[in-house]
Amino acid sequence: MLVLSKIKNLCFILFVLLILTDSAYAQKIYEFGAESVTVGWILGDDKAQWHEVKVEFLQGQFNLVYKVLLPAVQFTIPRPRSGKFEVSVRACRLYEAADQCSIWVKSSKSGIPEPWLIYWKPGIVTNIIIEDE
């Protein structure tokens, strides 16, 4: 716990990079047609050995955690499903044969204090054909 509290002192400044897409920004909800989003962060100190990226969907209790090994400090989240989700990152290290991780830090965006909410819509139907029966 002591080490954990030390690691808690890691101060992430998360920034989120968007890959492509229609950037119709409105409040804290963003809508994308893209199939992936990249999240990046800045190291709090030199103790972390890897980072974990958590994708929490606000509907359906659907969460994913990705492990990202250093020196990478960004991760491209593939689209697992549609819906609104938040992204959190924490730093981890192996200490005395146990994983020790910092608290989860939610992504944010400059000027928007709330957790950054992302919304992947379901895809669109295509090739609509109307014909005589």
Binding site: G60, G83, P122, G123, V125, I130, D132
Partner: protein, 105 residues
């Protein structure tokens, strides 16, 4: 009993793994689709409907151009963008003849 010429609407589904239905809306008066328009949900993986049978009687009571809006629905109720197509729908059978007289010639 009146008989009307039916139409088939078919489409290609997106690749999402969590789809449960395609929502089909129709509008024959405004030239566009509103979320409040009558709709039916076509369960995944079906990708076609027959009109006017799929909708309740009275939905297509105008002989005019209808807008059909299709959107995909996932398992938690999220709805994708609506894609609209326009087509003339005439599901109104002609009126019945009257004053039918049978006479010798």
């Amino acid at each position: 009993m009146a008989v009307v010429k039916k139409k088939r609407v078919r489409w290609t589904l997106p690749n999402d793994s969590d789809l449960v239905a395609t929502r089909v809306r129709v509008n024959g008066t405004d030239g566009t689709i509103f979320l409040s328009d009558p709709f039916i949900d076509v369960p995944f993986p079906e990708a076609e409907i027959i009109l006017p049978d799929a909708f309740p009687p009275g939905t297509f009571d105008l002989d005019t151009n209808y807008i059909v809006g299709l959107s995909s629905i996932d398992d938690v109720g999220n709805e994708g963008d609506i894609i609209e197509v326009s087509s003339p729908f005439d599901f109104v059978a002609p009126g019945v003849p009257t004053q039918i007289v049978v006479e010798n010639i």
